[in-house]
Amino acid sequence: MGHIETKSLLTRGFNGNTPELLNRADEAYCDFVSGARNLLMYAQFQNIGNLGEAELDQAAKATGHRPNSPDAIKALVMKVPEVATYFRVKRTLQESYWRRIAESYGLKQTEFEQALAEADQMGPGSVTYDPNFVYPGYATVDIHVQPGGYTGQRLGALTYDYGTKIFFGGAGDADSLHHSMAEKTSAPKDGVVKRVMEIGCSIGQMACGLKKRYPDAEVWGTDIGAPMVRYAHWRTIQQGLDVLYAQMPAEDLDFPDNHFDIVTAHLLFHEIPVPVIKRILAEAKRVLRPGGVFVLWDFFSAKNRSGASNFMGLMDASDNGEPFAPGFVNCDVEALMEHAGFKLRSHDPQELGRTGRVGDKPI
């Protein structure tokens, strides 16, 4: 097979920076799913959260004991027909779009794989990964119910790209959310930014935003998943940006001490176990220079959320492949950051509900 031109691979072009699905029917199917998620899930989020919470309150009053295990909670709240309907609809729509996206891109599986292999050797930017990498168990979960998760399918990152477009219901198209967060990512107090890294960068949306913000800086995107960094590199080439990608566990980075001015993580911590979070914080502090800054973008802690919201979060963990999220929202990550040696800034910038915790490495 000869060289793969992007134009011949993606006959239907791009939607923002995301490759279009390979035929109109698949796109229409996913449009329906995206719209149905908005109408049948997001619009009902608060109602269902309140219903579930009320059911748990009632049980607590009647028995003096509030159920707190996922199984006990589900046994109770799924008796409410609307709650069971909501979670049935949610699970079906979630499974449906992963399946359809994978089937669509799968029509050109061989060509996509060749395009990624060619991009491995191309610039701007670069990618490094280890074909023999052995993943720790926590990194092989089917996060978000995506078959193969972030690490188990060669085209998993391509599927993830279109899947997150559906997840955000169109609100994140053209990487707008990620670029907005890159703009709001706090800088070191002395203003010096020569090296920036996003850990757990997945498909590189925020790393590209950081490169646009700091065009003269060396910008790295690292992720434990080889499929993620390889696709991130291919996607970044399409935008003509110079970002360096590497497969690296965030808790074991192959960088020297005091190397970066900014290290940031976006929606990484709620996908990993708390012991790994602690190791990552220590590693982030090691690779930051004195005066450098660590910016953590992730969900609000449980203590800052309503009971209904925490109920929905627990259900999301159970039914949407977020097994580590409850650990994260309950772990007091601000205290963990301080314990790792960061000095927290009093102001947390917020973007669409993901709170940015900002920690300076003391000079």
């Binding site: 908005n38 997001y42 109602n47 219903l51 699970r91 509900g353």
Partner: protein, 126 residues
Amino acid sequence: MSTLTPEERAKKLSEGLDYVKDLPGFERGHPHYFKDPMIDHLLEIVLQLGAEMWIIRDRQMVTEYLLTTEGKVTPEMIEAFKPSPEFREKMKVERGTYTRRLYQSLYDGIGPGGEAAFVSGVLKAR
């Protein structure tokens, strides 16, 4: 670079994480939510039918648009069709009406809910 073998590195990265194997509460496979799983199956079928019907409706709208603007239509023209922002918005509105009409009875008991968007539905409720 790490001097460990891939297996040694994976073992090191997994230290102290035995508990994650259990993934408490995490639903693998194909869970059901109703006491009678047939209700789950029927809801799934109804959602898939809605999606498949929308595909036909989408194709019809694109076909009519192309016939009106180009005077002809081929399968290739449909596949290559890139809707304008106005046409995209028109389809979105049509899809919303269609979805509400089909599924509004699901939540009759609790009302229409809030704004149908990820941003206002999920994030502002936190």
